[in-house]
Amino acid sequence: MILDELSKGPEQLKDEVIGPGWCVSCGACVELCPYIKSEGDRVAVVHNCALTDGNCYKVCPRTFTDYTDLAGDITGSSSDAALGAYREVLQARSSRLEIRGAAQYGGVVSTLAVIALEDGFSDAALLTLTDGIYPRPVLARNRQQVLEAAGSKYGVCPGLSGLNRTLRSGIEQVTVVGRPCQVTALRKMQLNSSVEGREKVALILGLFCFWALDYVFFDQLKTRYGATSIKHADIPREAGISLDTDQGQITLSLEETRRYVRRGCHSCADPTSELADLAIGSTEGDPAWCTLIVRTEKGGSLVNKAKDKGFLETRPCSRDFLKALSNAALNKKKRVLEGKAESPSVVINNSYLRFDDETCRQIRGEGV
Amino acid sequence: MIIAGVGGQGNILASGLAALAATAAGYRVVVGETYGASQRGGSVMSHLRLSLHKEYGPLVPYGQAGLILAFEPLEALRVASKYACAETVVIVNTVPVYPVSVTLKEADYPETADILKAIKSLVKELYILDATSLARSAGDPRAQNIVMINALAGYPHQPVDRLYFEEALEDFLAGAGSGQREINRRAFECEVELKKY
């Protein structure tokens, strides 16, 4: 439904989100119209369209967002304060070597995207590929194109900028892989907006994400190291980030990496894409497997399809690992709710972010 | 006489034809006009002063226009507001060309009926026609200036015989391609009914 709190327009988007620096470059507002554009990781309202009530404000994950409400509509099952509502948490990996070889960790995202394309869930998949050193959105139509976009990018790519044009084209159904902020934006688009073509978003695969990097990070790879292409990136245990580039392996410490984290990430209380159909992330300590959270029936049927076709294998998630993940998620949420991290005026029920009271208590660790 | 229009409507060509026709008819003719930047959508005016005896300055004095031939209603009013008097006759093409302030939705454009009413309040007689549609039927809506010259040539109370306008047009078309000649001739020869407002 269209909420009163979201009845605002691009000037407010500028004043409340982009201007103060809370934009996370999800790209949901970009290309909804000729007035909002993106280049690299920058999103700008280039001209005031003069409407005071627009879809741009409604889809933004940094305007009023009621997580409990949205989750209720999507998952229909009870919520876990740490990880959001889910049906099961699994460990998974691709059974196809050629996919695992090209992809990140267990290759689960790429596998699921391939199945979604080849098995009639959608005719296109919105992914992110690395163009030289910069992430950019790409619309994949076949397995080859999915594999070209495989691998984690860690940058604040405004991927949904590619979606809005696609929704107005002849594509019938699209699967989207995105960061939690992008997942949230998509759900707001489906439920709180009047964006044309929003019914074409067939399936949402969310990633785990605790932070993402500004493009100045990639700029300095160029200027400091002379790197012009990135083949692979990941977050090693002891360091901030490690990249396999044409100038060899480049590893940055946590300290160094932190400088490039997008400011808007500090106000994110959704590290595990709680509103996605499926959420996929790494498994700390076991790079061969991914963690897969099944949240909706739709998501579950995609996983089953993948398994039936022999593309995916799964095993249960260890309790220790689950606890570790939950704690990490809770800590991030706690920081945001208590305003310890830099955040907009996050005060329960008076902020852009809303969880119900019970959830808030659990996040804070009050009571049981 | 003042020929008024918007830059790009072929004002200069029209005044050139009228001047040539009047000269051939034996008048001393002086024309004053402005173009250059005016092509870019601004208001354009051509002042024509005809006399058997004297050579006048290039601009019609305020309040002394005998005839205003206007390619656009707002421009007709704009010119009439400064140059009309109780004796003035206006012939106007009623198709509006919207100023950029209007297409940018920053200003409104008055109702054409109101503009015509306003013009009438300043002059003796007002005649209207849709020259753009007539030009479109002749083959190109941009030939509305020739249709307006057609209207001028046929107006019974102006001093230059239609024949001279015809010759002036032939002169102008001498270097033109056959397609252009056809369209312009049709625009000059089509039937024009000057409706009295």
Binding site: E39, V46 | Y35, G36, G63, C85, V102
Partner: protein, 643 residues
């Protein structure tokens, strides 16, 4: 038309054509010019004849070169004409003050077109001061006929006194039409031009005395000239002194007020040096002297100074200094006309204001609003509109409050809404990139804002090269954006070195701007401004870099393109989003193409009379609702988003 060989035939022509005719009747051999309103057609009409009559014509890259070229022809004994607008004469200032030293051989005439009221200029300049500054003769015609006669005579005058002559015209001569009788066209003989071993063309300070001598010689000739004439009572108490078309306004005003019988009227056509004796003859016995001229009180100041020196008594002067004779905005501002002249005379003679404007107080009531103004706008299809939109988007995305400097051309309209008010500076040709050289060094003083300068292709060749070299040499930090529409458009579509045609209409190898900039070692990108998906990222990328970078936005002028082939576009109303979120009438209301208006139910509508078929709106439309007229949706671009 101007070469019509029918002496004695009565014609009607524009002032510009009349000047060209005058030059032909004088047997002009060489004509060089840089296009400028209001006098561009003088050269244009002569160039159509180049080749015949042994006449050479060229569009020079700027007025300085044009005048130097004409001077060379004059040194070789040929008759040369150089045509430029008011600002162009200012460009030649250094040459004007040095060329007057060696003097000329063949007649050299400079026609300068002033623009009182600035109809087609950024300022209103009174070029007559240059004549006094350079101490050379100045002629000012009052009618189209006189323009022809003066131009013809000026070559002879120039040869008599052996220096160049400035013939100053204004918009109301250039763009006016008037009758005159054709004179004879001389038969030209074969000539053998030679520069002799003893020929020298120096400017040397001790020659200054010769300049005084020539000026005095001119004055003596002017005393007898029929271009100055007096009419009215022999010993008039009040005499009106006027030059240029202001004379006609004054004469008509005197008749309007029934003052013509008792008031003297002294027409001055040879405005500098003043024909001292002639002026004194008619003014010495007067009590009141009234001045009419445009724009500055040039004649007024020279005559009042003359009367103070030689007159012998106290006079009452009425003109700009006294405040009696005034343009609409004040003395010395804007044009005069008969009505304003009459008002001025009424003030002098203490008569009631004779201006009879129609009564218009009631109009706002009938219209239910104020009459909308007509602001200038870029033509439908103009590539500059897309260039400015691309720049606006790239700058907003960049977010560092970059600013854009501009100069003279169609893109000067970038100061208005039609160019999204992007331009922060407009002054003379080349001033945009010139300023960028300065702003581009201010990072040393803590300025963090990127600097852009836009310039046209013709302007690039005219004035921007030294600034570009300076930016390279002094390592300035800015982006030079060349708006290359392959023509000099604003002045009427004249060619230039990059356009592939010369003044005679012959195809020549076009000089590509990127060959110059890359030859200088400058990073140069080229993009089609109507292809915004290409242009915005290209400019955004350049903004992230440092140093002197060049972006050439190349697309043919829409009006030129439409002459060759005119596709029309139409809006499919059912697909048009109209006022809805996602559009809100972007094409007509924001992008601002003047060919696009709104229907009653707020759908976009393209005018078939105005559309030039550039196709930019079809690409920009967020709903793909605009197609070429012969296109259907099956053929039309159904964009699928990303590759």
């Amino acid at each position: 038309m101007i070469a019509l060989n029918r002496p004695g035939h009565r014609v009607i022509m524009t002032g510009n054509e009349a000047l060209a005719r005058g030059a032909l009747e004088a047997g002009v051999d060489f004509c060089s010019s840089y296009p400028g309103s209001p006098c561009v057609e003088v050269a244009e009409s002569l160039f159509k004849l180049a080749g015949e009559n042994q006449l050479y014509g060229e569009w020079s890259t700027n007025e300085m070169v044009a005048l130097e070229a004409a001077a060379a022809a004059s040194f070789a004994g040929l008759r040369a004409l150089c045509v430029m607008k008011q600002n162009g004469l200012a460009v030649t200032a250094d040459l004007l003050l040095s060329l007057n030293h060696p003097g000329t051989r063949g007649g050299l005439v400079i026609v300068v077109g002033d623009d009182p009221g600035a109809h087609s200029s950024i300022n209103e300049v009174d070029s007559r001061h240059f004549a006094r500054h350079a101490e050379v003769p100045l002629l000012e015609p009052s009618t189209v006929e006189e323009a022809r006669a003066m131009c013809c005579w000026a070559f002879e005058l120039s040869e008599q006194i052996e220096t160049y002559v400035i013939l100053r015209v204004v918009t109301r001569i250039c763009h006016a039409r008037g009758n005159f009788t054709l004179g004879e066209l001389p038969l030209k003989e074969e000539r053998k031009v030679k520069i002799e071993p003893w020929d020298r063309f120096f400017c040397f300070a001790p020659m200054h005395g010769m300049i005084h001598g020539r000026q005095e010689q001119a004055r003596l000739i002017f005393e007898e000239s029929l271009f100055n004439c007096y009419s009215g009572p022999e010993k008039a108490e009040t005499v009106v002194v006027a030059s240029g078309p202001a004379l006609l306004y004054a004469r008509e005003a005197l008749e309007l007020l029934a003052l013509d019988q008792k008031t003297g009227l002294l027409k001055v056509g040879t405005t500098w040096p003043l024909p001292r004796e002639k002026v004194l003859t008619h003014l010495r016995e007067a009590e009141n002297i009234i001045f009419f001229e445009e724009t500055d009180p040039f004649l007024e100041q020279n005559v009042t100074s003359l009367m103070a020196q030689y007159g012998g008594k106290a006079y009452r002067f009425f003109g700009q200094a006294s405040g009696h004779i005034s343009g609409e905005a004040g003395p010395g501002l804007g044009e005069l006309n008969t009505g304003l002249a009459a008002r001025g005379l009424a003030k002098v003679f203490n008569l009631p204001d004779p201006l009879k404007l129609p009564e218009t107080d009631h109009l706002q009531g009938i219209l239910k609003m104020e009459m909308p103004e007509r602001e200038m706008t870029l033509c439908p299809g103009c590539p500059h509109r897309s260039s400015f939109w691309a720049i606006k988007c790239a700058l907003e995305l960049d977010g560092r409050q970059a600013f854009v400097l501009g100069d003279i051309g169609c893109y000067t309209l970038g100061i208005f809404k039609t160019g999204f008010m992007l331009l922060r500076s407009v002054m003379c040709m080349g001033s945009g990139i010139g300023l960028a050289n300065g702003f581009g060094q201010l990072h040393r003083f803590g300025m963090n804002q990127p600097v852009l300068a836009v310039m046209g292709d013709s302007t690039f060749f005219h004035a921007c090269l030294p600034a570009l070299l300076n930016g390279l040499y002094n390592e300035a930090d800015f982006i030079a954006v060349v708006l290359d529409n392959s023509i000099t458009a604003m002045t009427g579509f004249q060619p230039h070195p990059g356009a592939g045609l010369n003044a005679a209409g012959v195809a020549v190898e076009p000089l590509k701007i990127e060959n110059i900039t890359t030859g200088m070692g400058l990073k140069t990108l080229i993009a089609d401004p109507h292809d915004l998906d290409e242009t915005i990222p290209a400019l955004y990328g350049l903004l992230r870099e440092k140093g002197l970078r060049v972006l050439i936005l190349r697309r043919e002028c829409a009006l030129q393109a439409a002459r060759k082939e005119r596709k029309l576009y139409r809006v499919i109303a059912e697909k048009c989003a109209g006022e809805a979120c996602g559009c809100n009438n972007f094409c007509g209301r924001v992008f601002g193409c003047p060919a696009i208006t709104m229907t009653e139910d707020s759908k976009a509508l393209i005018s078939d009379a105005l559309c030039t078929g550039c196709g930019a709106c079809a690409v920009l439309c967020p709903r793909g609702a605009i197609l070429a007229v012969d296109e259907t949706f099956e053929q039309g671009s159904e964009k699928e988003g990303l590759s």
